[in-house]
Each structure stands twice: as structure tokens, then as C-alpha cells.
């Protein structure tokens, strides 16, 4: 695989959210606004970069039987580092994201990249993959955060869009609204993919959602 393929695959065709439906916990938990989604995505990109690079570096050295605990240890270390850094230099955002920062450890998308990609590829390819997947994840978080913020609060990045009399759709701020909005977004993504005649790749990784659209 060349770098362009890795990038396109990680960002779009195998997008963590739209195609693989992984990492739902932070997705639904923090995307009450676009800015929360952005910073959660940024934190995840940093962790992914760190873990993919290190896992790729140690891939020849870790015995097969203990690779999962070793990867988890690497991921947990990077998550803690990112959490401490946010607590120190972005205290307000750290308080908002709160519990979801340590929970990046159990975002199976990250362990997934370590196991499926970084443990089999060069450091440079693994870093590229981390960037692509991380940015794809960030994009999805921001998109869902924007939709929920616009519908739920009538604002985007904290800027009011429709004036003071906008009747806040509380449902979109709450978890059910996240599921509903996500469903429509995935449907939209599938329509785009089909139009572009590239649906095949996405269907393989995202069968249930693709079926829903076909029916």
C-alpha cells in the first residue's frame, strides 16, 4: 500500500465511525458540541500517533503471546500523558472532557490499529495510518458535534446561529439524539459512497448500516 492509499483508507473508506462503527463511547459521550468533538479527536490523534509508532518500533521484539497486554500498556501510557498535558495546559477543556480522556484507553479503534496495522508495517507507514485514522475520527466527531450543537442549541463553535428565540431541541443534546443523528450521517455517507461507485469497499466493513440503506 502506498501512502495515498493508507490515507484514503484510514480517513474515509475504513473510517472508524462511518465504516467500522468503533469508538462509539467517546463519539456519543462528548459530541454535544463541535468544539468538544474537535478536542476529543485531537487527543485521540496524539494517542494513536504515539501508540502506532511505538508498536511499530517494538513489533519485532514483542512475543506474540503477550502482544495485547504490551500494546495496552503502550496505549495507556500515551493516554495518561495526553491527559496530564491537557490538565496542565488546557484545564477548562480537560474538565469538560473529563472521564472520556482516560477512556481513550479502551477505544478499541486504537488497539485495532496497533494490532491490524502498526504491528505489521514500517514506522513511517504506521504514523501515516495513525494520522489518517485519527483525522477521520476527528472529522466524524466534529461533524456529529456540529449537527448536535446546531440542532440542540442553535449554535456552532459557541456562535449563535438563529438568535435567542431558537427553541433548543434538547433531544439532540442527549444520547438518543446522538444515535439518531449518527444514523442519518452514516446513511448520507453510504449514499455518497454509492454515488461515487466505491460502495464495495465500505460495505465490506459496514454491512449492517449498508443494508439499512439498501432496504
Amino acid at each position: 500500500m502506498n501512502k495515498t492509499e493508507i490515507l484514503a483508507d484510514g480517513f474515509w473508506h475504513n473510517n472508524t465511525i462511518f465504516a467500522q462503527l468503533l469508538g462509539m463511547c467517546p463519539l456519543l459521550g462528548v459530541t454535544t458540541s463541535a468544539i468538544n468533538g474537535f478536542w476529543m479527536g485531537a487527543a485521540t490523534v496524539l494517542v494513536l500517533l504515539g501508540s502506532n509508532i511505538v508498536v511499530s518500533l517494538i513489533r519485532g521484539f514483542i512475543p506474540k503471546n503477550v502482544r495485547i497486554p504490551a500494546y495496552i500498556m503502550v496505549i495507556a501510557a500515551f493516554v495518561t500523558v495526553v491527559g496530564m498535558a491537557m490538565n496542565a495546559w488546557m484545564h477548562d477543556m480537560y474538565l469538560i472532557l473529563g472521564l472520556f480522556i482516560p477512556l481513550i484507553v479502551v477505544n478499541c479503534a486504537i488497539l485495532g490499529r496497533a494490532e491490524a496495522f502498526a504491528s505489521k508495517n514500517s514506522v513511517l507507514d504506521s504514523a501515516t495510518d495513525a494520522l489518517a485514522v485519527g483525522l477521520g475520527f476527528t472529522f466524524a466527531l466534529m461533524l456529529l458535534g456540529s449537527v448536535r450543537e446546531i440542532l440542540g442549541h442553535g449554535s456552532i463553535f459557541g456562535l449563535s446561529l438563529f438568535g435567542e428565540h431558537y427553541p433548543d431541541f434538547l433531544m439532540f443534546v442527549l444520547p438518543p439524539g446522538a444515535f439518531i443523528a449518527l444514523g442519518f450521517i452514516i446513511a448520507g455517507v453510504n449514499i455518497i459512497n454509492r454515488r461515487r461507485g466505491r460502495a464495495a469497499q465500505s460495505v465490506a466493513a459496514c454491512r449492517p448500516a449498508a443494508h439499512a440503506v439498501q432496504e
Partner: protein, 220 residues
């Protein structure tokens, strides 16, 4: 011959086991050192960020003052725990307000920390939420809902019924969220009760602290 093979297999197995232990130990040691180094660099900034946060909240719950409440504090012993009480003073060094943090243990998801600013006569100057995990868009109105927060201003233990309207009191609950405001109202009421009981002692300690600090300043 067979013995030899079995021996080889055993030796190989032992080698593999050893490799696993070494690999995991190394990964752990490296991860731990990384965390240690990060802690070294972030400890002071984290402390400062927390202090800045407390400073901001104190400025919001205390009236205009000439001292620095974050340092001008007395330490109250509650069940073996030291609770800081921050003081606002005027030019004469008289206490114009006190602030301390109360905890509502019964929020919708976990405890809610509330900073209460109160005048020496027992009226609330302002309250602010300093930490919570309430539902965004529902319970977190206790942070963003300015009219609701402002409703506490000037309230004393006796001039209002300390409960949410659903419980027959005077405080609004939010649509879809009663538990959160109920917990806050209850915690603030308890804070006021604490102040009523310990008012004399607190004010005496505060006045004493002022004399001490002035004594301390004299030589310089």
C-alpha cells in the same frame, strides 16, 4: 535421544517464557518512566491551572475586596479534614464575605462541588459550581443557567423555603432535571446551617488572622 528432545523442548519453552517476561517488563519500565517524566513537567502547571480556576470562582462569589482571598484563608477542621475558608476584606481589614466549598454527594451522576460566598450576616453573595458530572443540556444548567444561579443571591436560611418547587420549596427545578437542582439546593442549605452554627467562631478566627498577618508585616 527422546530424553534429549524433551529436554530441548523444555529449554525452548523456558526461553519463550523468559522472553515474554523480559518484553513485558521492559515495556512497563519504559511506560512508567515516560509517565514519571510527564508528571515532572506537568505537576506545577496543573497546580497553577487549578489555582487560577479557584481564583476565578472566588472572584465570582465574593464582593469587591482589597486582600487576596485565595491566600487569606482560615482552615476549618471538618471531621479530620481541613476545609479552607477564603476571606474577602475591606480596607480596614474587616471581613466582608467568606467563601468555602460544599459538596453535594447526591447529584444525578456523582458529587457536585459548590463554592458558596456568604456575608458575615449570613446572606448568600453568590454561588458557583466548581466541579460536576451532570448530563450536558439537562443537569448542567446549574452551571450555565445564570437566572437560576442568581436566584440564590441574598438568600438566607430564613427568608426562603430551601427546596425545589416539586418538593414544595421556592427554587426552580429544570425541565427534565430535578435531581441536580435538588442536590445543589440541599447542599447550599447545609452550608448555611454550618455557617449559622459556627458563625461566631469563624468570624473570631478571621479577625485573629488579620491581627496576626498585620503583626507579621510590621517588621518589613
Amino acid at each position: 535421544m527422546e530424553n534429549n528432545q524433551a529436554g530441548n523442548r523444555k529449554a525452548k519453552h523456558t526461553m519463550e517464557m523468559l522472553m515474554m517476561v523480559i518484553a513485558l517488563t521492559l515495556v512497563t519500565v519504559i511506560a512508567a518512566s515516560l509517565l514519571g517524566v510527564t508528571d515532572m513537567f506537568t505537576r506545577e502547571p496543573i497546580r497553577q491551572a487549578q489555582r487560577a480556576m479557584l481564583h476565578r470562582s472566588l472572584e465570582q462569589v465574593l464582593p469587591a475586596h482589597v486582600n487576596s482571598p485565595i491566600d487569606d484563608k482560615l482552615v476549618w477542621d471538618v471531621a479530620g479534614k481541613n476545609m479552607p475558608v477564603y476571606l474577602a476584606r475591606d480596607v480596614q481589614g474587616r471581613v466582608t464575605a467568606l467563601a468555602w466549598e460544599v459538596v453535594a454527594p447526591d447529584g444525578y451522576s456523582g458529587s457536585i462541588r459548590i463554592l458558596i460566598g456568604i456575608s458575615p450576616s449570613g446572606g448568600i453573595h453568590a454561588i458557583r459550581i466548581t466541579a460536576h458530572q451532570e448530563t450536558p443540556g439537562l443537569g448542567d444548567g446549574i452551571v450555565h443557567n445564570k437566572p437560576w444561579l442568581d436566584f440564590f443571591v441574598g438568600k438566607t436560611l430564613d427568608n426562603i423555603h430551601w427546596a425545589v418547587k416539586k418538593d414544595g420549596g421556592d427554587f426552580d427545578q429544570f425541565t427534565g432535571a430535578t435531581i441536580t437542582p435538588r442536590a445543589v439546593v440541599k447542599a447550599v442549605r447545609k452550608g448555611l446551617e454550618f455557617f449559622k452554627i459556627n458563625r461566631q467562631k469563624l468570624l473570631k478566627m478571621a479577625a485573629h488572622l488579620d491581627i496576626q498577618s498585620k503583626k507579621g508585616k510590621l517588621p518589613s
